[in-house]
């Protein structure tokens, strides 16, 4: 079932931050997510994992905001890895070239490990 609610959970670790979303990612909720990411960048984080395992739908406005986050991180020589994508979301990220600017991993552990690989 779809849900209208959207939650963002943040976990700050030494050298990186994990953002976990839950629910439909649209424009307003994407703005909340971007604000969360900006706040973490202001605190010095440049390595992020966004875990989308509990987000089954993202619309094109939500995608545009994820691209904004990637651009902000690229300005800071940062890195963003996604994990937990449904096949449809992964296909969408490849269609819009987002997958060329961020990593895609099956689970959080592999996404975190790749943040520190050369």
């Amino acid at each position: 079932m779809l849900s209208g609610k959207f939650d963002v959970q943040i976990r700050e670790e030494d050298g990186y931050a994990v953002i976990q979303t839950e629910g439909y990612l649209n424009g307003p909720r994407g703005e909340d997510l971007a604000e969360t990411a900006k706040n973490l960048m202001q605190k010095g984080h440049t390595k992020f994992v966004i875990n989308l395992a509990e987000t089954k739908l993202i619309n094109s406005i939500g995608i545009s905001i994820l691209i904004e986050i990637i651009e902000l991180l690229e300005e800071r020589q940062g890195i963003l890895n996604f994990c937990g994508l449904t096949p449809t979301i992964e296909h969408t990220f490849k269609l819009v070239a987002l997958a060329r600017h961020a990593g895609i991993f099956p689970d959080e552990d592999s996404a975190i490990a790749a943040l520190n690989s050369p």
């Binding site: 779809l2 439909y24 649209n26 739908l57 619309n59 406005i61 545009s64 269609l95 070239a97 600017h101």
Partner: protein, 143 residues
């Protein structure tokens, strides 16, 4: 929502934020009942969402409503999504061919129709200055 025949459902939604989810959820239930698999259902949901938000953002419809007709056939689900807005010029050649874009450049907006085209098997646009109907077809994987 009114069920008109065994295979046809019509839903009218207001152009309010997140109302596209109501249409997507209805499409999900109909597609599930019609035997589509989970991946196809997700693709149908995304196509419905993108079509609805395109109408919300661009149609300038006076009645501020979108009408969605779901027609479940033996081998496919057909969707007719209509708004009574100002219409638009549709050039199918601007759409990327199916598959991953070759560009490395990040483009933020304007992906709606390309996403819809890639999620569905067929996309038809019938648009004039009073009304636009987008027809989407998703075939069952076996067909």
């Amino acid at each position: 929502m009114s069920k008109q025949t065994d295979s046809e459902v019509v839903l009218t939604i207001p152009m309010h934020p997140s109302m596209e989810l109501v249409a997507a959820q209805t499409g999900s239930l109909i597609a599930e009942a019609g035997g589509f698999d989970e991946k196809c259902i997700e693709e149908i949901q995304l196509a419905i969402i993108e079509t609805c938000i395109n109408a919300f953002e661009h149609s300038k419809s006076e009645d501020q409503r979108v009408r969605i007709k779901f027609i479940m056939k033996d081998n496919e689900l057909e969707l007719k999504i209509t708004d009574r807005g100002v219409g638009f010029q549709f050039d199918p050649e601007v759409l990327q061919p199916e598959g991953e874009t070759k560009s490395h450049a990040l483009r933020k907006r304007g992906w709606g129709l390309e996403l819809i085209r890639n999620m569905m098997d067929n996309l038809y646009v019938d648009s004039n200055e009073h009304e636009t109907t987008i027809t989407l077809v998703k075939k069952k994987p076996d067909y």
